[in-house]
């Protein structure tokens, strides 16, 4: 059983992911949720309040919807990093290269978001970085002594965000794959120092 409020947030989440925040109208949200304008404005006085709820919802979805499935059959911490990137690749394939990271898309669409929105974007990025940071932290014994798990996790995020951006623009996985392959090469050189070179 779902409440009207839950259906509104879910509808808004989908529409914003598909079209962006600006182009998504409250009328569309109301229609997809099979609700009415009065109900929406009762739960969310402004459109931005709805966006805040969507961004809070993404915080609760990262582990069960993204990280969990990606790590389902992968135990090695370093491989989990690339399993996560592999999931984004799968989403690109499934969507015919239309997929975009919803957080990254909102972050770039809104050039100067109001503080509550920006704070939630930051929390979403922090959570993603934190998940990847766990992997590198679990593999510290295979990394150089001066390696910084959080720094590496941030690098993984920039690679994902940049890769998804280019995949959608090029309608091709080439750039995404090139970036991820380079990242894999880097991590391989980090984890197995002094033996690479010829592969």
């Amino acid at each position: 059983m779902t409440t009207t409020r839950e259906r509104l947030v879910e509808s808004a989440r989908q529409l914003i992911a598909e079209q962006g925040y600006g182009p998504t109208t409250v009328a569309q949200v109301v229609k997809r949720a099979d609700a009415h304008p009065g109900s929406l404005y009762h739960a969310f006085p402004t459109k931005q309040d709805l966006l805040v709820a969507v961004l809070e919802n993404y915080l609760t979805r990262l582990r069960p919807q993204i990280v969990g499935p990606a790590w389902q059959d992968v135990d090695d911490p370093i491989e989990r990093v690339f399993a996560l990137l592999g999931l984004y690749r799968k989403l690109l394939v499934q969507s015919d290269h239309l997929f975009g990271c919803p957080i990254g898309s909102i972050a770039l669409e809104l050039h100067d978001p109001d503080p509550p929105v920006r704070a939630l974007l930051v929390r979403n990025f922090d959570q993603w970085i934190g998940a990847v940071e766990e992997c590198f932290a679990a593999a510290v014994d295979r990394l150089p002594a001066d390696a910084d798990p959080k720094k590496l996790a941030t690098f993984v995020l920039t690679t994902m965000e940049g890769g998804v951006m280019l995949a959608r623009s090029y309608r091709s996985l080439d750039a995404f794959d090139a970036a991820v392959a380079s990242l894999r090469d880097y991590i391989a050189r980090l984890t197995t120092p002094r033996t690479g070179g010829t592969r």
Copy 2:
């Protein structure tokens, strides 16, 4: 001496960079260009035609406005890669972390751009990658035999785009610096194999 058309494109370019494409209104463009609606619609029948002109304009600006200044005092091809990233860092500092790559921002704002727009986004990305690819091509003798200059250049672009995205969201250079430092570490390990590890 500038034509009305040139002033319109320049005004649109600035406003779109500041606010995004959707939020920029033709009324704003006309006002900043000190022109009138009739003139704009004479030169650009639709708002999208104006966007196309802006994206074509960016193609002509990359070398003189971005790449040229970044490489002014840098001859080493590998250092030129990081000088270019350094310029983006400078733009972030100067703008109090509000800067965003205009091409990347438009690419993510428009979830499914019309073909002429998408083609121009691709040409802009291609041109950026091409400039960095030149650097790696000029340094092939210092790279592993199987290194691919274009692949590396694409990786640099994802790092820049992801880094700029995070810098603007966090209002901080930390994530940008972490990504660029990781990239530098990678390139260092590529160019000086079998000697790294302790730095």
